[in-house]
Amino acid sequence: MTFRVVIAGVGGQGVLVAARVLGSAARYADFDARVGQLHGMAQRGGSVEGTVVIGRGSTAFIGPGDADVVLGLEPLETQRALPRMSDRTEVLMNERPVALATLTQRGVEYPELGTILQRVRGVTERVHTLDARSIAERAGSPRTLNVVMLGLLAGLDFLPFVENALARAVDAQSPERLVDINRRAYQLGRESAAGTRGVAGS
């Protein structure tokens, strides 16, 4: 069994941290895991992608159609991960966009959220969206958005290991002053899973 998760987002959203946490969680659950990161020249605001491959193997590549889960921290970045999706991919998407900064001048417009969703649904019906940003703010900081998304992943119960491992990994990777706030974010994300299921069926 190999379980592959693409985590897509924008620099500053905590993509790589989320990938590392998920990788450690797999290890807590006694799974082999590898975490890849592509950040290149992306400074704050650029596209960042993390890959987590759980199970036997040597690399963290996730090829076309190979993602079991796409954890989209941002809508457009979720769309960017389309080639890695197939009809069995579970797509978890934060529906709050990060605007395209200066690019709009060249006639490049941020697509409508509906258009992005339509494109994703063209590949897989298993789409779960939520306003993770608001939930993160409710947890105490917009910067916990990545933890909210991990909580959602746990709540939807797609992982091949017990959810407790992920909660433990979140704790272990949190700096002391952020433990509580991250726990709250994780919990709120987990609870919101129920609310997103309806979206998948629609």
């Binding site: 605001g45 040597s58 690399t59 933890v147």
Partner: protein, 1157 residues
């Protein structure tokens, strides 16, 4: 949880204990989840490394970063060397000193260190020496991808290729052994995928560090030629030792015994193993994994090849191993099919993905690998990497482009600032390698003689920019060297730079950068804060104006770094106000942002923003104004213009070289541009704020430059858009500027238009009243032709009140516009001798008409009575028609003269005498008697207000007297006129729509109340067309093209606080010399040349707001800005309140705000 503790806490440890770094857990068999780069460090620790150094470069940076963190607690000597050559030499010195040493860099660095690298194998290492040279297939973070293996083999240096984190650890540990046994340095060559993949790695035992000390051995350590020749043979012996070691190492290993074999190295070897396992091919295909592609033990490899009949070689980049395999097969006559790059199954560039390798395995070996069917491609906008919000480099680039304009070449370098490349900062015309920002700039400057600008960061400057700068100083190159000092190596993850170090959480200066630059011999060195735009722009301007080499150091710490280390102190400045100091973010006031006072009239400028336009705009604002001052809604020039032309808009377009866009702005509001730019009375120039500073912008000359440019094009580069015809027909009576403008405007609105005129040719006063030296006939005809081309019908030689009757016109058309102007001269009764004696008395209109603008029957001595334009025109026409002496006599003082200033000045220049405050009393036999007058009430102009001053009578000799004391309407043209009202000699009209009381009849131009100018008459023509449209089609349809609002002479053109930094004087068009003027009707004033026009346009201070401005988005490129709907916005999340945007916002719309966290 964007933040995670920097110290990588062990997962297993309880958080109350002092954390032990997981990398230094000294327990064999311990497993940790670490990056490939960390595994390399662990491998070195297990090998007992005693010295580590390097220069950061993605993807190798975490190696040096990890050493930086661990070295102090392990007693390892570590440094971030200033460049790779230094680093390599330091590591070699440590090896000579008997220590195991490691040096890390990216692939590019290896080439930089090539000089010492080539000789080290000759001298030989003592302590094991490992060179990590991280590769980057697919150029993910590099300007090239390179295969270090051919270089290594050329220099006789063994190469190890890890494919996983575990291999990275093991090969690093082994590399020290290999180096020590062979006395060769060893290159470890991980790629991005290995460096940046986190995986479980099992540790070995840590080994004690050892420093054996330096042993003198000159015959080996000093490679003078005699020694070198001997050492060359030793190199070969060393390489043979390395070959043997590799054969025995276990890093060249085969799995399986099949007749088909894959030979692979690095990451592809790991991928191949995964695919074979997943496809269950372990039995049918064996895998030969090469942990070391060089030097391969050849006899062993031949043995391996003898066992098989098919081989697929899988290695990234060049066919290095493949060619060795092919050669060995040939040399040993092996019957083996070798597949790989040479057979076209694999490419020689870019990273190998599992799909690509799987496809090759399928195609070459028939392995059952089915790639997923790709989903339909959906184009997704790229989030191009961009300089962070608040990045000080942005201010530096912005200011540099502002000061230098678009024509100066900018050369960039390797670092964050590379992101200045492309729009909107456009700060990289070329890029090569570390330090080349200065050499490229210097080389181009020396070759072409152009001034150039080179940019690099502080770390890059210390890396290899110092010699480049010294070289430029030595040659006295005409260039600007910009060192962008952010006190840290930001690009690769905030490694220290020689310029600063962190002490107690604060950045402390270490090396005095400016001192170094001065010590190199630079004479002009300026240090500025790039977030202070005015100062930075001024520094760049000074450098632009000074010949030779200038150095500008832009100094401000990287805000991301200071935030990370918690040094808040540095973000406080610069601030423009107390308000800004407290700001946590900035916001855009949209009332100011997109408001230019043209909304009510539907954005008349109709101009979509272009990059160059905004560039000119923003520059003018940030640069011309010493202090930021909020602009007025409408620039005073536009307010004063009867046509409400967007002067600052076309000036900005001219400054940026976009003449077509400038033309579009002019044509949108002015249907007779060629004529008006020659005869306008220029109220705009009187209102210009610059008038108060030095001289007004030459607005009319700018307009003329554009229009003449357009006329010179093969096809006139503007065509108006006409609404579809709707069948309504308007008669316009009078083909002067007002009638023509109205006719054109009515055509745009979809009306059929017939213009009647008493003359045979359209033009009215422009044709018969304005002399040719002001307005050449062909110029007027161009305007007329353009108007007629829109479909306006012209019927000549029909006179209202003669063969043309108002009642008939009203009957035959849906509406009638009367625009026949004032065709009668006021007459002057002067007593004098009867009959043929005494000077002839003619009226100015008749005189000018008889001249048709180019010569009339004229006496020897001419006196012109009057002070308006027709007086000046008559006088100058008389001069050109052969008069020996021309005198103008008028009641007004010089300052009160109503004629256009420049016309008066030119007349005086041509030798025309102007006698002011005089009154003509009577004719004499040979002249005219004048008497001095004084006003009864000061400041009021009315002929009755003047009384003669006794004793000032004198006679001016004259044989012709031209009377130019004003014109009146020829009321006879209107027949009984019972349906029209008159007021003050003009037709009474509704001041908004210009409708007369008679239904369907409108009046405009001099026939209705107005300012008596050509431009003013055109404005009323446009207004009347709108009025007609309102009456015909209703307000909604008509208001789609509103008329220019009534002109307001701006009293408030003085703008307190506005200062000019650039003191470039007004450009002047060429003029005909005086002798030529006296004898011909050739045009006196010429057109500005292109360079002067652009320079003059750049003098415009853009003092009004612009509704089309998006400078913040399109020019500054801060990622905190985004567009929501049509409005620029600032993201609270990304804005860190640096306040630089507020310094240049052309509309003064960006404001600091305090947002509660």
């Amino acid at each position: 949880m964007g933040e995670v503790s920097v110290d990588n806490k062990s997962d297993e440890k309880s958080r109350s204990e002092r954390p032990v770094d997981p990398l230094i857990v000294d327990r064999e068999g311990h497993a940790a989840f670490i990056l490939g780069n960390e595994a390399i460090v662990r491998g070195a620790l297990e090998a007992g490394v005693a010295f580590a150094c390097g220069y950061p470069g993605t993807p190798s940076s975490e190696i040096t970063d990890t050493f930086a963190r661990l070295a102090p607690q392990l007693g390892i000597t570590f440094e971030y060397s200033i460049n790779e050559k230094i680093a390599l030499e330091m590591a070699f010195a440590a090896s000579l000193a008997g220590a195991r040493s490691i040096v890390a860099m990216k692939h590019l660095g290896l080439m930089y260190a090539g000089d010492p690298l080539a000789t080290i194998p000759y001298i030989g290492t003592v302590g094991g020496m490992v060179i990590v040279s991280a590769g980057d297939p697919s150029c993910m973070t590099s300007p090239n991808e390179q295969d270090q293996r051919p270089v290594a083999s050329m220099l006789h240096i063994p190469v190890l290729d890890p494919g996983t984190a575990q291999e990275a650890l093991e090969l690093t540990r082994f590399a020290f052994e290999l180096s020590e046994r062979s006395h060769l340095p060893v290159i470890l060559r991980p790629t991005t995928r290995v460096c940046h993949t986190r995986a479980e790695v099992t540790f070995g035992q840590m080994r004690k560090r050892e420093v054996r000390g330096f042993t003198r051995d000159p015959s080996h350590l000093v490679p003078i030629p005699a020694h070198a020749r001997k050492l060359r043979a030793e190199v070969d012996e060393r390489l043979e030792i390395a070959r043997d070691e590799l054969r025995r190492s276990g890093f060249l290993r085969r799995s399986g015994n099949a007749k088909t074999m894959i030979v692979a190295a690095g990451v592809p070897a790991a991928v191949c193993a995964d695919i074979l396992r997943e496809q269950d091919c372990d039995d049918s295909v064996s895998l030969l994994r090469l942990g070391a592609p060089f030097p391969l033990p050849e006899s062993w490899l031949v043995e391996e090849l003898q066992r098989v009949d098919r081989v697929l070689v899988v290695e990234e980049l060049l066919p290095f191993v493949e060619d060795t395999v092919l050669r060995l097969c040939a040399q040993n006559a092996l019957r083996v099919d070798v597949f790989g790059k040479r057979t076209g199954h694999l490419p020689t560039r870019y990273e190998y993905t599992p799909e690509l390798i799987g496809a090759a395995m399928h195609d070459a070996l028939g392995i059952d690998y089915a790639p997923a069917t790709p989903t339909e491609h959906v184009p997704t906008p790229v989030r191009a990497p961009t300089l962070c919000a608040a990045c000080p480099h942005r201010g530096a680039f912005f200011a540099a482009r502002a000061a230098f304009g678009n024509d100066v070449l900018f050369f960039n370098d390797i670092g964050c600032y590379t992101l200045g490349f492309g729009e909107p900062l456009d700060s990289a015309d070329a890029l090569l390698s570390m330090g080349a920002g200065f050499t490229l700039a210097a080389g181009v400057s020396r070759t072409t003689g152009q001034k150039t600008v080179g940019f690099m960061g502080d770390s890059t400057f210390f890396h290899s920019g110092m010699p480049a700068l010294l070289n430029a100083i030595k040659e006295g190159v005409d260039m600007v060297a910009v060192i962008m000092d952010n006190e840290v190596t930001a690009m690769t993850g905030f490694q220290e730079s020689p310029s600063a170090e962190i002490e107690k959480g604060r950045i402390q200066r270490r090396v005095d950068l400016a001192g170094v630059v001065r010590a190199l011999g630079a004479e002009r060195v300026e240090v500025v804060d790039p977030n202070d735009l005015a100062v930075t722009v001024a520094a760049f301007r000074k450098a632009r104006e000074t010949e030779g080499l200038s150095v500008i150091i832009t100094e401000r710490p990287c805000p991301v770094f200071t935030q990370r280390i918690g040094d808040a102190a540095v973000m406080e400045e610069p601030c423009q106000s107390v308000e800004a100091k407290a700001a946590t973010t900035y916001t855009i006031d949209h009332d100011l942002c997109q408001h230019c006072g043209r909304q009510a009239c539907g954005h008349r400028c109709g101009q979509s923003a272009t990059h160059a336009f905004e560039q000119a705009m923003a520059r003018a604002r940030s640069l011309e104004n010493g202090v930021p001052v909020a602009p007025v809604e409408v620039a005073p020039c536009a307010s004063a213009c009867p046509l409400f032309l967007c002067v600052q808009g076309y000036a900005a377009h001219i400054a940026s070289g976009d003449y077509a866009a400038a033309l579009e702005l002019i044509m949108a509001g002015l249907p007779l541009p060629s004529s008006v730019c020659r005869v306008c009375h220029r109220p705009c120039e009187v209102a210009c704020v610059r008038a108060d500073q030095d001289e007004p912008v030459a607005i009319n000359d700018l307009k003329r430059f554009v229009v003449d440019w357009a006329d010179a094009q093969e096809e006139f580069p503007y065509a108006p858009t006409l609404e579809p015809e709707h069948g309504r027909h308007v008669a316009v009576v009078g083909a002067g500027p007002c009638g023509l403008a109205a006719a054109h405007e009515l055509r745009l609105r979809g009306y059929a238009v017939t213009v009647y005129d008493s003359d045979a040719e359209p033009g009215g006063l422009l044709l018969t009243g304005v002399p040719r030296y002001r307005l050449p006939l062909d110029v007027l005809r161009r305007d007329v032709a353009r108007i007629r081309a829109t479909g306006v019908e012209f019927v000549g030689e029909r006179r209202l009140g003669g063969d043309l009757h108002l009642d008939e016109l009203v009957e035959q058309h849906d509406a009638v516009l009367l625009a026949i102007g004032t065709s009668r001269s006021r007459s002057l009764e002067l007593d004098g001798p009867d009959g043929s004696e005494g000077p002839e008395l003619v009226d100015a209109l008749a005189y000018l008409r008889s001249s048709r603008g180019s010569g009339a029957a004229t006496g020897r001595h001419v006196v012109v009575i009057g002070g308006g334009n027709s007086a000046i025109d008559s006088a100058r026409t008389a001069l050109r028609s052969g008069a020996e002496r021309v005198v103008i006599a008028c009641l007004e003082s010089r300052a009160e003269l109503p004629a256009i200033r420049s016309e008066i000045a030119e007349a005086a220049q041509e030798g025309i005498e102007i006698r002011t405050r005089v009154c003509a009393v009577r004719r004499t036999a040979d002249g005219i008697e004048l008497v001095g007058v004084e006003p009864r009430v000061e400041g009021r102009f009315d002929p009755d207000n003047f009384q003669p001053v006794a004793g000032t009578e004198n006679v001016v000799p004259a044989d012709q007297v031209i009377v130019a004391i004003g014109q009146t309407v020829d009321r006879a043209a209107f027949g009984n006129g019972n349906t029209l009202d008159w007021h003050d000699g003009r037709l009474a009209v509704d001041s908004t729509t210009l409708a007369t009381p008679r239904r369907g009849v409108f009046a405009a131009g001099d026939l209705a109340p107005g300012d008596g100018t050509v431009t003013g008459a055109i404005a009323t023509g446009l207004r009347a067309a709108w009025g007609i449209d309102r009456a015909m089609r209703g307000n909604d349809a008509a208001d789609r093209r509103p008329p220019p609002p009534p002109a307001r002479a701006s009293a408030g053109s003085v703008r307190p606080g506005v200062e000019r930094i650039d003191r470039a004087g007004r450009q002047r068009p060429p003029e005909l010399d005086e002798a030529a003027r006296r004898s011909s009707f050739d045009e006196v004033t010429g057109t500005l040349d292109e360079a002067s026009a652009r320079a003059e346009a750049a003098r415009c201070m853009i003092c009004g707001a612009c509704g089309n401005c998006r400078s913040c988005i399109d020019l500054f490129g801060c990622p905190a800005f985004f567009v929501d709907g049509n409005k620029p916005q600032i993201s609270e999340d990304l804005c860190v309140a640096c306040g630089v945007c507020a310094q240049f916002c052309p509309n003064g719309a960006i404001k600091p705000v305090e947002v509660e966290a």
